[in-house]
Symmetry: C2
Subunit: 523 residues, 2 copies
């Protein structure tokens, strides 16, 4: 066991923090414990790594996801042993499905203390592996710089993803000689060769009804612009149902969104004989249903990968458009703001108000579940903005995502959309919004139920819910009072029950900086 | 792929529910999703399995822990795939450390759907194994009854623990012929042989300063009574620092509690030459500290296991007491209720009011962290009650534990003690208390900081916290308003700032049934 001594100018913890900051890691979403105290102390000497306290780890990991999606560079988290990591694992599942670079720092017992199996001891590797693209423990301070660089690089290796760096307490507190921190070079995406481009161009030419499905990198601005050129040729373009980050609104190409449900997909893809995939995989059903197929590729349709998630989809799309002699520019949306809504408060009317008042460069974090289709309908012609969706199906990400997006892009207004059931998972994040004065409007859609489960109950063939089942699908009684919950964490809040109320409330919220919450009680 | 047909009278889901209820599993703490709809539907046909909705999975698993500790029989949870399980894993870590029988039902994709790696797919086994004493997936409906019995039996195999039964959606919905559900016989604890008893009796007789350390089964009523006989002989008796369940108050033997900190342990155990362990292992430091040993067994002291966690500690203690010719009854506490407190509100004054008004057979669920020692000081002579502690060090268990204890023992008043930092982890449980009208008084100790980390910062040698570190140790600004938070979930709440206010408030709360919350703002 070695301890920090004055003769050695660094410790494992200061080396870790120095290596992170030398590599442009700027935010640490943290919920520390005893084993992380030396890492916390190291932050005092490195003000360029911003510490952001989250009162639950699922907030920290979801915030790192939002940050990583917007910065295209990792933030770090600081988590307390196995249970702290586990609390953050559900949103890391979403981050893995969003291919977001994140460096999780997981504190652990001192290496020599593990053998005593103290109460907080557990198998962190087993917990972390399913949602980590890389996972290692720093067993000594001397390897700290090298392992940190390896971690950052792994998170930035296409298609990117969360990594887990386990930091035993003695590695953190042990002294070592200070060295200049090493720098990471992020690996580039592999280019797609011309043979594949040519073969796909031939397949598109020969197809009766070709479609293009975009995901991940291909659904960002540069990819959308190239995809629009193919749409101009008559190739219908879709994006994945759930996209980590997508620019929308005026000036952007607006591809169709692949529906969530098999029935909708079937209707949209009827007669399609060739499906080109860029930055994504063949589409599959979100869940299995009795008697329904798992694949969403229509029978008789050929699905061909133009660019996998690790390949350069933007260049591949450009090369394909060139090979097909597509025009240099495809269609984009014109600005069109709808009329003010009135009457009942519905997802559609909320969406109209959002479309009207969404400021330019706003970021919309969307976990609104059954309200989603209505609320996003009007905003495709709103001012240009970006949307971050729930990628992994684990609800409770909107509030954390919004925190991370607001930290990464302090000049943007962030709009956080959440179902009431979903918002309950990580409501602790409202406190972090208040503490950090983040510019976030949180909208909670209060339908007082897990509404999607009412639909899924029937769709899975489970029949109709009676007493016991209904207990598990409804969020009332009692009604959650989101105004109280929000104020209890320091975020001003209002309840709206009509379209007019919401229109006024959201208009004000869009214009004023700082956090606020609107409980939208749906009719 | 098979689907439910009218010709077959059961499904995998109804078989699972029937087998659970035939084996006396009476409560299901649930947060379901699409893949669990057939299990939910099966509950409609089985009213003796009570469905209790929890708005976050950490509430469900912690509630199952509280239930299992009090019922000495498992409840089940219902969790939604890998992320749903992960959200519940931290409190299952605590349950594993409490050796609580729990049957976790984890819904999964249909077996044939897994290969498509849909967004919610993940490696559930890897996530579940660290906190499960048994983990299996039911790959077909025909094995459902057998695997359910295996699961229940595994959870009840000494020393008991949480098990994970993975339920693919097609296993749940597939039809099969109804059969009478099989019954589980819980395995018994192994008896300790007389040779070991004799050897330990000799060691105690020869010792200058012997102590006995109790844990787990040995700290329940029958074990305490036998341990008191040894105390009467001059063997000082301790209990583990954190005990899953311990009877306290008038009529019970009150062993000393092993301190949390090395300094305290050192003072208590100075000169001890023999340490007898019953139902527990050799004591170790909760965390490592630079230059401090990991083991709490004093140098030169011999630690000897009388009964391991899987053995019958109660009979072993009785046999040892007989071998040493101890009196048949040892010391017990007399009822003594302290005077009403006045002045500043402190953990000690709160503890005095609790001791005064705690009803007979109350259950105290304790995650009060730095307030713990003060708050429990006065209650060792209160009316007889039981205390459930945080066993695994993952804070955020008091609210869930209280839910489970209240469901298991509806005739008892439950008192839930939580630090403000800890309570934030699982505050969603307040809603479940309101919905189920549970008889729980929740007391949140508001010191506006992770106070223990302020202490640990120094103790780990990290120095003094400056700007960045202080950000991560303090819960203010902004102040959490627990009255608003509680009311927002339907639980009436009051804020107390003096000992007199708290005394009045807790007296009323003890006398009135139903949930309420007291924010104790510490001086």
């Amino acid at each position: 066991m070695t301890t920090t001594t004055d003769a050695l100018s660094s410790t494992g913890a200061t080396t870790l923090v120095d290596t992170l900051t030398a590599n442009n890691v700027r935010a640490c979403f943290a919920n520390p414990g005893t084993s992380e105290m030396h890492f916390v102390a190291a932050l005092d000497h490195c003000p360029s790594l911003r510490p952001i306290l989250c009162l639950f780890e699922g907030v920290a990991t979801g915030a790192a996801d939002g940050y990583g999606r917007m910065a295209d560079w990792p933030a770090c988290t600081l988590l307390h042993l196995g249970p702290g990591y586990a609390n953050g694992a559900a949103n890391l599942h979403n981050a893995r499905r969003a291919y977001t670079p994140i460096v999780n720092i997981i504190g652990d017992h001192a290496t020599y203390h593990r053998a005593y199996d103290a109460p907080l001891n557990s198998d962190i590797m087993s917990l972390a592996r399913p949602n980590s693209v890389w996972c290692r423990s720093a067993e000594s301070a001397s390897e700290m710089a090298a392992i940190t660089v390896e971690a950052i690089r792994a998170s930035l290796t296409p298609p990117n993803g969360p990594v887990s760096l386990i930091l035993p307490a003695d590695t953190a507190w042990s002294g070592l000689r200070a060295e200049p921190p090493p720098k990471v070079t992020a690996p580039e995406r592999a280019r797609v060769d011309s043979q594949r481009i040519e073969a796909i161009a031939r397949a598109v030419r020969a197809a009766a009804k070709p479609v293009l499905l975009l995901g991940h990198q291909a659904a960002l601005d540069a990819g959308l612009r190239q995809a629009a050129r193919l749409e101009a040729l008559g190739v219908r373009v879709f994006v994945d149902t759930f996209i980590a980050r997508q620019p929308r609104g005026a000036g952007h190409f607006a591809p169709a969104r692949l529906p969530y449900r098999a029935e909708g997909v079937k209707a949209e893809l009827a007669g399609v004989d060739v499906m080109i995939l860029a930055g994504t995989d063949s589409p599959v059903a979100f869940f299995a249903y009795p008697g329904q197929p798992s694949s969403f590729v229509p029978e008789g349709c050929r699905d061909i990968s133009l660019a996998s998630r690790t390949e350069d989809a933007v260049h591949a799309l450009a090369d394909l458009a060139d090979a097909l002699e597509a025009p240099l520019r495809g269609p984009t949306q014109e600005l069109h703001l709808p009329e003010a809504p009135s009457g009942k408060l519905t997802p559609l009317s909320v969406g109209v108000s959002i479309a009207r008042h969404l400021p330019e460069n706003a970021i919309v974090c969307d976990d609104s579940v059954t309200s989603r289709d209505g609320v996003t309908a009007a905003s495709s012609t709103a001012r240009p903005h970006e949307v971050l969706a729930l990628t992994g199906g684990s609800i409770g990400i909107a509030i954390p995502l919004a925190i991370g997006a607001a930290v990464a892009k302090p000049a943007s207004k962030v709009v956080c959309l959440s179902g009431d059931g979903a918002a309950m998972y990580t409501l602790q994040g409202l406190w972090t919004m208040a503490r950090e004065s983040l510019d976030v409007v949180t909208i909670v859609f209060a339908n007082r139920s897990y509404k999607i489960l009412h639909q899924e109950f029937t769709r899975t063939g489970a029949g109709s819910p009676h007493a016991s089942a209904a207990t598990l699908l409804n969020l009332t009684p009692p009604d959650l009072d989101w105004v109280s919950l929000s104020r209890g964490m320091g975020v001003p809040a209002t309840r709206c029950q009509t379209a007019e109320e919401f229109e006024n409330c959201f208009r004000r919220a869009s214009a004023e900086p700082g956090p606020c919450l609107i409980e939208a009680v749906l009719a």
